[in-house]
């Protein structure tokens, strides 16, 4: 059916009506008092969401653009960096680092497993000459649904003194990323995730320590040079023409988030994550990744005895529910359920009910009809 799609993927995520309508307003000039007022408001609310007094800068790019900015602004060719890689996005940040000539050492874990903080501890403690300039880490690994232990890894980075550069694309707005409390230097995120707005904006928070590194960093940059963004943001403007209608959307979405409150937002994501996982367990569908490292944004499932792509196909064609598939070697092996952003408890129950009907249709016999809905309902109402 047209226009009835229910997005249960890890981005783009569903958009509230008032955000869609805000976006449909006529644009205004970006060098106007009206736009500056919006810029001031969204910047303040972004700091609230990031739990920080650091600069939070807004780029017209995807999350990858923001993450690249977060890397290239604070480093110089040949600088040594540690990159955590346990999924498609960790892998990508290694590629960015190498594309810019950084001396890249990867700390890896198998896809579906979290990075081991001890590996970072060992590498950082071994670096007595302080050659490592930055540690680059993905908080919520979207490709696998694994949440890395950023807090512990960061404690080792702090002890060492390197910068920490964080991909928080699917964690910011889904669980607490207390930038100031943890002392996170650079944190990148994207609009089509916890922010509840369409793709096209990305965000980078930058600490005073990172700005110090910026002063001597020499990697070439212009569009993604954060210096002019900072200078302009101080005057409530942007160096280049901003995606104005997406700013309208951002303004509306952040107002909604402030109304809901940080604690309520994080509790909702946590509850829906647990309900989704409990439903999968009740349906005897193996989870890909353990409960102790489960992303608040996405749950990956590796079904046995029933084809993941067939599940996705029936869910889409019959029930207009979009689930994500696996990436790279996980293609066809897993499906991923997004519970990120503008998702209510009803959506989880709906997705589980449709999944049950789909499994039965595909001849998967290893579950009791109703068990998934019952489990999800119990957790949601606990």
């Amino acid at each position: 059916m047209d226009n009835k799609l229910m997005l249960m993927i890890p981005g783009p995520t569903p958009i509230p009506e008032q955000v869609l309508l805000a976006m449909a307003k006529h644009p205004m000039g970006h060098r106007s008092g009206e736009f500056s007022a919006i810029m001031a408001e969204v910047t303040e609310n972004l700091k609230w969401l990031h739990q920080t007094q650091n600069d939070v800068l807004i780029l017209a790019s995807s999350g990858t653009g923001a993450m690249e900015a977060g890397i290239i602004n604070f480093l110089s060719q040949g600088d040594k960096v540690l990159v955590g890689n346990n999924g498609k996005f960790g892998e990508r940040w290694g590629k960015v680092a190498r594309a810019f000539g950084l001396d890249t050492q990867e700390i890896t874990a198998e896809w579906g497993k979290p990075l081991n903080p001890d590996d970072f501890k060992a590498a950082l403690e071994a670096d007595t000459e302080k050659q490592i300039k930055a540690v680059i880490i993905t908080h919520s690994e979207t490709s696998t649904g694994v949440l890395n232990d950023l807090e512990t890894i960061n404690s080792y980075v702090k002890a060492h003194g390197a910068l920490i550069i964080v991909d928080a694309v699917t964690s910011l707005g889904a669980c607490s990323v207390p930038v100031d409390e943890w002392g996170l230097d650079v944190v990148a995120s994207g609009s089509q995730k916890g922010y509840m707005i369409p793709p096209g904006l990305a965000f980078v928070s930058v600490s005073a320590k990172a700005w110090q590194a910026y002063e001597t960093a020499t990697l070439p940059k212009f569009y993604l040079d954060l210096g002019p963004y900072r200078k302009n943001a101080a005057k409530n403007t942007t160096p280049f023409t901003p995606p104005i209608n997406l700013f309208f959307a951002l303004q509306a979405a952040l107002q909604m988030m402030k109304k809901e409150g940080l604690e309520a937002i994080f509790a909702r994501h946590d509850r829906q994550k647990r309900a989704t996982r409990d439903a999968m367990k009740a349906l005897n569908l193996p989870l890909y990744g353990g409960d102790d490292c489960a992303s608040p944004a996405i749950t990956a499932v590796m079904p046995q005895g029933v084809d993941a792509e067939k599940i996705r196909s029936v869910m889409k064609k019959q029930f207009d529910i979009a689930l994500a598939g696996g990436q790279d070697h996980l293609k066809g092996q897993i499906f991923r359920v997004g519970h990120l952003g503008f998702v209510c408890d009803r959506d989880i129950l709906t997705a589980v009910a449709a999944l049950e009907a789909t499994l039965a249709h595909l001849g998967y016999g290893d579950f009791t009809p109703g068990a998934g809905v019952a489990a999800a309902g119990k957790t949601l109402l606990a």
Copy 2:
């Protein structure tokens, strides 16, 4: 008055209702057949607008991002480039080139004057050892309303063999930029201009010759690396999450443009440009820049005996018409009237009528009331 703003600036430009409403639709997954169908349609229509069979790639960035991509993808550190500079944007491309370590020779003209094609001819003919790898030129210089003679300059570039990299941000969709006929290698543009959609998307067309240069170009890049955009576009997808709702807008706007037709679009911009200029002459307001190099997108005016900023202020406060001011040393010296994108003849007449009322209110006596409207009307109806 709220929400009655009439944008007469060179971007963002006014947006048609069906484009605004298209943008307010719920997003879809970008790895879906539905999105690929949109990607295929808009890519085909972009080629139509560019009058080319070359690749036309779509980025999530401002026009500056597209222009940076157009430069860094085809060059290596130390490469010599010629940059035309007769305004703020020409100046900016020189900055980009230097930021990436290119050996940059500027060919300048005074702001308000066009670049002299003979200067390019001389520089290119003197380069018998073919050290110049690319010529970077702004077609319509938005800061001054001057249209550079791209066709003639390009003929000298062709004779030499260097790549030509064109900022067509405020010319594409306003006047003919026949990419294949002229053999333009790289052409960058942005959505908030002739495209009639809000800012946030940018476009780069790339010739086969430029792709050859890409193979050996070594400037570091990742988010703006056009190779993956090309590879993905061939499969009707994008390397990174695209601003989906802006794609909905692009789809709707290109459908409107195809319906109007290229010749009609260009004739409309030309007529409105001439009407605007004729009105200014009739009001004894000196034009900044000559008729022989007038941009189809924007007319710059340098009033004498009346303050440009006061004119802008009354136009905005009383009549809800946004005009652009001057940039850099032209701040306070000129005002700029945009006639770009979704502008109808009525808009020109409206702006001129409001300008007459404003001039009278500010005590500017050097015009006959009604002369501007009469002149504009005559040209529009000729």
